[in-house]
C-alpha cells in the first residue's frame, strides 16, 4: 500500500467533496472512511484511477451518512445539488482546501492542526505526537477547527498570506517523534506552489529549502547548537541549496518582492558562501533593509544590527543595536556577541549569562551558558 500516494490524494478528494457542497466535517469523515476502504481493498484489487476511486467511495459514504441524517430536507437538497460526475480539476479543489484550513477565523494552532490533518493527511495521533500533546486534546482542537470553518463558503479568494504563515509555523516546529514537520511543511508548500502561481509561495518554498539544507550541520551529535560560522559546510545539502536558489531567482525575476523572498535571499547569501569569512555581509545588510521596509518586525531590525556588525565592524553593530528596544527577544545575546567581537570580554561574558536566562529554548540556553563559561574560564587563566 502506497501510503504517500494516499496522503497526497487526500486533500484533492476532500476538496471535491467540499466543493460539491458537503459540510467540511462530514466530508472529512467520509474521506477517512474511503481511505480505510482503500487500505483494505487495493492490495488485492488495485484501482485504475486511484483518485477517481477515492472520490466515488468517499462521496457514496457521505451520501449514506447524509441520508441517515435526521435533516431530511437538507439531505434532499444536497442530493439534488450533486453535479454530474466527470473529470474534476484537482488544482482548484486542493487550493481551496489550503485557504479553508488557514481561515482567519481560526487560531494559529487550530489552523496548523487542521492543515496537517486535512491537507497533509496526517492522523490525529501523528499530529498530537509531533506537538507533544495528548491525542484527545488534539482531536478536540481539530474538531473545533472543523466546526469553525464548516459554514465557510468558497465564493471568495482566500488570503495567501495566512496560508503561508500557517505553513511557516509548521516548518518552524521542527521535528519530534516520527513526523518531521519541517519536511511535511516543505511537501505541502511544494504542493501549493504547484497549484498556485505566486512569487511569495515560491519565496517561502525557497526559504524552507535553504534552511532545511543546512539542518544536518546545525546541531552537533549531542544536540548542542553549532553556530553558522562553525558549521561543517560539507554537510550542507548542496542539491537542496541549488534548488532553493533556482526557485528564488525565478521568483525575484517577477519583480513582486515580499518578505519570504527577501528572507530567502538572505538565506541564499549564507548558503552561497564557501566559508563563513567569505559571506557577503554588505549584500545581507541591504536585504535586511529591504525586509525592514516590507515588514514592521523588530526582530528583522535586530538581525540587521548583527549583520551591520559583520559588514561595518562591531562598533557599528552596537550602535544599530542601541537604537532598538532592549527587551526584544535575543537582544542581549546579540549585544554579547558584538561586545565579544569588539574585544570587551568581561561585558560579553556577563551579557551571555544574562541572555542564557532569557533564552526561549533549552539548546539556545545551553549554548549561551557555554559562551559565557568560555569567556569566564579564558579570563581566569
Amino acid at each position: 500500500m502506497d501510503e504517500a500516494l494516499l496522503r497526497s490524494l487526500t486533500p484533492s478528494v476532500l476538496g471535491v467533496l467540499v466543493r460539491r457542497g458537503a459540510d467540511f466535517a462530514a466530508a472529512e469523515d467520509a474521506v477517512q472512511d474511503a481511505l480505510v476502504e482503500a487500505v483494505r481493498v487495493w492490495p488485492t484489487d488495485p484501482p485504475r484511477d486511484a483518485k477517481g476511486w477515492l472520490v466515488a467511495v468517499a462521496w457514496r459514504r457521505f451520501l449514506d451518512a447524509a441520508r441517515s441524517d435526521a435533516a431530511r430536507r437538507r439531505r434532499e437538497d444536497l442530493v439534488d445539488a450533486e453535479p454530474a460526475s466527470g473529470p474534476t480539476p484537482a488544482v482548484d479543489d486542493t487550493l481551496q482546501l489550503y485557504f479553508l484550513c488557514a481561515h482567519p477565523s481560526l487560531t494559529p494552532s487550530s489552523a496548523v492542526a487542521l492543515t496537517l490533518r486535512a491537507v497533509g493527511g496526517l492522523t490525529t495521533h501523528q499530529i498530537a505526537q509531533a506537538y507533544l500533546v495528548p491525542e484527545a486534546t488534539m482531536a478536540q482542537r481539530i474538531s473545533r477547527a472543523k466546526r469553525t470553518v464548516s459554514g465557510v463558503r468558497f465564493d471568495q479568494p482566500g488570503d495567501v498570506a495566512t496560508v503561508l504563515r500557517v505553513l511557516y509555523l509548521v516548518f518552524n516546529e521542527g521535528y519530534s517523534g516520527d513526523i518531521d514537520l519541517a519536511a511535511e511543511a516543505i511537501r505541502l508548500t511544494r504542493q501549493l506552489a504547484a497549484t498556485f502561481d505566486h512569487p511569495e509561495v515560491a519565496g517561502l518554498l525557497a526559504l524552507m529549502l535553504l534552511h532545511h539544507a543546512r539542518r544536518a550541520a546545525r546541531t552537533a551529535p549531542d544536540g548542542s547548537l553549532v553556530p553558522l560560522a562553525e558549521q561543517d559546510r560539507g554537510r550542507w545539502d548542496t542539491m537542496m541549496i541549488a534548488e532553493g536558489v533556482e526557485i528564488l531567482q525565478a521568483a525575484l525575476a517577477r519583480d513582486r518582492l515580499g518578505e519570504y523572498q527577501a528572507q530567502a535571499a538572505i538565506a541564499a547569501l549564507h548558503a552561497d558562501a564557501p566559508t563563513a569569512a567569505e559571506t557577503d555581509w554588505v549584500q545581507i545588510v541591504e536585504w535586511y533593509d529591504e525586509l525592514a521596509r516590507l515588514t514592521d518586525n523588530p526582530v528583522v531590525r535586530l538581525n540587521r544590527a548583527v549583520a551591520v556588525g559583520e559588514a561595518d565592524g562591531p562598533r557599528a553593530g552596537l550602535a544599530a543595536l542601541a537604537a532598538l528596544d532592549d527587551t526584544l527577544p535575543r537582544h542581549t545575546a546579540a549585544a554579547a556577541y558584538l561586545h565579544e567581537r569588539d574585544g570587551n570580554l568581561t561585558t560579553a561574558a556577563r551579557l551571555y549569562a544574562e541572555a542564557a536566562h532569557k533564552a526561549p529554548n533549552l539548546a539556545e540556553r545551553d549554548h549561551l551558558t557555554r559562551q559565557a563559561a568560555r569567556l569566564n574560564t579564558h579570563q581566569r587563566r
Binding site: 492542526a113 518552524n172 553558522l228 538581525n303 556577541y337
Partner: protein, 140 residues
C-alpha cells in the same frame, strides 16, 4: 503554540484574597472548588489546550548524593519557608497572553463562602526544542 506550567502552591506564594484554609471550608465549598478545577480542565481539553494536570501531596523530602550508599534524607533545609507545590496544570496555548488569561481564570476557583479564592498562581513557560529556522547568526 507554546506550553506553560501553571503552578499552584500550598505556601510560598503571596496570600490569596479569600485566604481561608481549606479545612475550614464546608464540604459543599470543597466540592464546588474541585468541580471548578475539573470543569476547567475539561474545558481546556475541549479547546485543545490541555496537556496535563496533577495534584501533589503536601509532604515532600529533600535528597542529595552524599557518597556511596548513604543518600541523606531530610524534610527540607528550609522547613519554615519551603515552597510546597500543591499541583500543576500544563497547557499548550497560542500566546503568553492566553496563558495569563487562563491562569487568571483558574485562580478564581471558588473557596470559602463560595467566593473566588483569588490565589496566586505561578506561570512558567516550558523550554522547548529550538525552531528549525533559528540560525545561530550572532553566535557566530
Amino acid at each position: 503554540m507554546a506550553k506553560y506550567l501553571l503552578l499552584k502552591h500550598y505556601r510560598g506564594a503571596p496570600a490569596a484574597v479569600n485566604d481561608v484554609p481549606m479545612d475550614r471550608w464546608t464540604p459543599e465549598e470543597i466540592s464546588a472548588h474541585v468541580q471548578y478545577m475539573n470543569d476547567f480542565a475539561a474545558r481546556l481539553e475541549g479547546t485543545g489546550e490541555f496537556v496535563d494536570g496533577q495534584a501533589l501531596s503536601p509532604e515532600g523530602t529533600f535528597v542529595r548524593y552524599d557518597g556511596e550508599g548513604r543518600p541523606p534524607v531530610t524534610d527540607g533545609p528550609f522547613a519554615e519557608t519551603k515552597d510546597l507545590i500543591a499541583g500543576w496544570m500544563v497547557i499548550d496555548v497560542d500566546s503568553y497572553e492566553r496563558a495569563i488569561e487562563l491562569a487568571g481564570e483558574l485562580s478564581a476557583a471558588p473557596g470559602a463562602g463560595g467566593k473566588p479564592i483569588h490565589e496566586w498562581l505561578e506561570v512558567r513557560p516550558f523550554l522547548a526544542a529550538p525552531p528549525t529556522t533559528t540560525e545561530c547568526l550572532f553566535h557566530g
